[in-house]
């Protein structure tokens, strides 16, 4: 056996081809991703606070902080319970469908499961999102890169390495970190579901 024979064998193994539709869509997929990223960067730039704003905000936060602290003390028990339920669901469903969960949705109707057709959902830390609006609250266990429906709008969930979460939809743009930031009439909280499952 020589190098030529080996090379012939290696070349006989062709990389799988994809559909014409895939090749047609892929460049658009890349360019729309670039446009979306540019929009996020522009939005970050606009949101960069000036020193004066920071000082005013800091003073306001001192006052509001006491009130929020009191309120959160009461509601943190409920939040911890919701998170525990989400973790339990995730742990059980992930064991049944490894790398197939796109999202688990909790709302007034109970828990719903959104699964990928194949077990090819990339490994990434699970995220917990809670969205409350005029029509009630919904919670999600999902992953960066997945899409969820928030208030009728399909949004992409994005998380950076520090665990900051963003929701990007056609009508909604929200970025964390931490709970309590409002996007229009919605109240959105996001955090890592946690590894201590």
């Amino acid at each position: 056996m020589n190098d030529f024979e080996l090379e012939r064998l290696l070349k006989s193994a062709r990389a799988p081809d994809r559909t014409d539709d895939y090749w047609e869509r892929f460049p658009r997929h890349v360019t729309s991703g670039l446009r979306r990223a540019a929009a996020v960067e522009r939005s970050d730039g606009r949101g960069f606070p000036r020193l004066a704003c920071w000082m005013a905000a800091a003073a306001a936060c001192l006052i509001v902080g006491f009130a929020v602290g009191l309120w959160r003390g009461r509601s943190s028990g409920e939040a911890a319970a919701r998170l525990a339920v989400a973790r339990r669901f995730y742990r059980e469903i992930e064991a049944l469908f490894p790398n197939q969960i796109q999202a688990i949705v909790f709302d007034q109707r109970g828990a719903r499961l959104i699964l990928a057709e194949n077990p090819d959902v990339p490994d990434s830390p699970p995220l917990y999102l809670r969205v409350c609006g005029p029509r009630g609250c919904q919670s999600f266990v999902t992953f960066s890169g997945q899409k969820i429906r928030v208030n009728g709008d399909e949004c992409e969930v994005l998380a950076d390495v520090s665990g900051n979460v963003m929701l990007v939809g056609s009508k909604l743009f929200w970025t964390g970190p931490g709970p309590g930031l409002a996007a229009g009439r919605l109240r959105i909280e996001a955090q890592a579901l946690g590894y201590a499952l």
Binding site: M1, D3, E5, L6, E7, R8, L9, L10, K11, S12, A13, R14, A15, P16, R18, W23, F26, P27, R28, H29, V30, T31, G33, L34, R35, A37, N118, D120, P122, D123
Partner: protein, 187 residues
């Protein structure tokens, strides 16, 4: 150097933020980048993600493309690095996969590749490629599948020609051993 007039025009327009022009660059290189990322990962889904990541990185770094090398070589460099970084970040999963693959291989032994049709043989070759250390795999993918000479591959991989030659030599030795049954079947 070697890039067509159309391609140079698309690069110029992409630098100015014309995403449609960049879409044309993507369309003209997408198949080769997908083939590269597939051979580096062995997974259709991961290869699609990495191809996209490579193009996004390329767009962001277009300013650093000086035209000294061919655009395709520059793009290869970005895609190979994306694959190597991906392999690092997925090291734990890969180790688990490798352990599993070793067990499977022990069960099926060499007969798996010997008594196989074209599809099975393709899988055998891809399995063997995945078993190679990352940098050796990259050297084989570039020199065998992309038909680069060692100097070109060295530029893409950011190492010396001697290093590429050594990696190719070491990889070939392993591949010959692992693929011996499939080679014998061919004879």
């Amino acid at each position: 150097m070697g890039d067509s007039g159309d391609e140079l025009e698309w690069i110029r327009r992409s630098r100015e933020g014309d995403s449609e022009a960049f879409g044309k660059l993507v369309a003209s290189h997408q198949r080769m980048i997908h083939a590269l990322t597939f051979r580096m990962t062995g997974s259709l889904a991961d290869s699609a993600d990495l191809a996209q990541e490579a193009f996004v990185q390329a767009y962001r770094r277009l300013g650093s493309f000086r035209g000294e090398a061919r655009f395709s070589s520059w793009l290869y460099q970005i895609a190979v690095n994306a694959c190597l970084n991906w392999r690092k970040s997925n090291a734990r999963r890969q180790r688990a996969f490798r352990d599993w693959a070793e067990q499977e291989r022990a069960l099926h032994s060499d007969s798996h590749c010997a008594n196989s049709g074209n599809d099975e043989r393709t899988r055998c070759v891809q399995d063997a490629l995945i078993r190679l250390p990352d940098k050796q795999r990259a050297a084989i993918v570039l020199t065998v599948y992309e038909e680069m000479n060692h100097a070109e591959a060295a530029r893409v991989l950011g190492c010396s020609e001697t290093t590429v030659s050594w990696r190719v030599f070491a990889a070939r030795r392993k591949l010959k051993r692992w693929l011996k049954p499939a080679l014998q079947q061919d004879e």
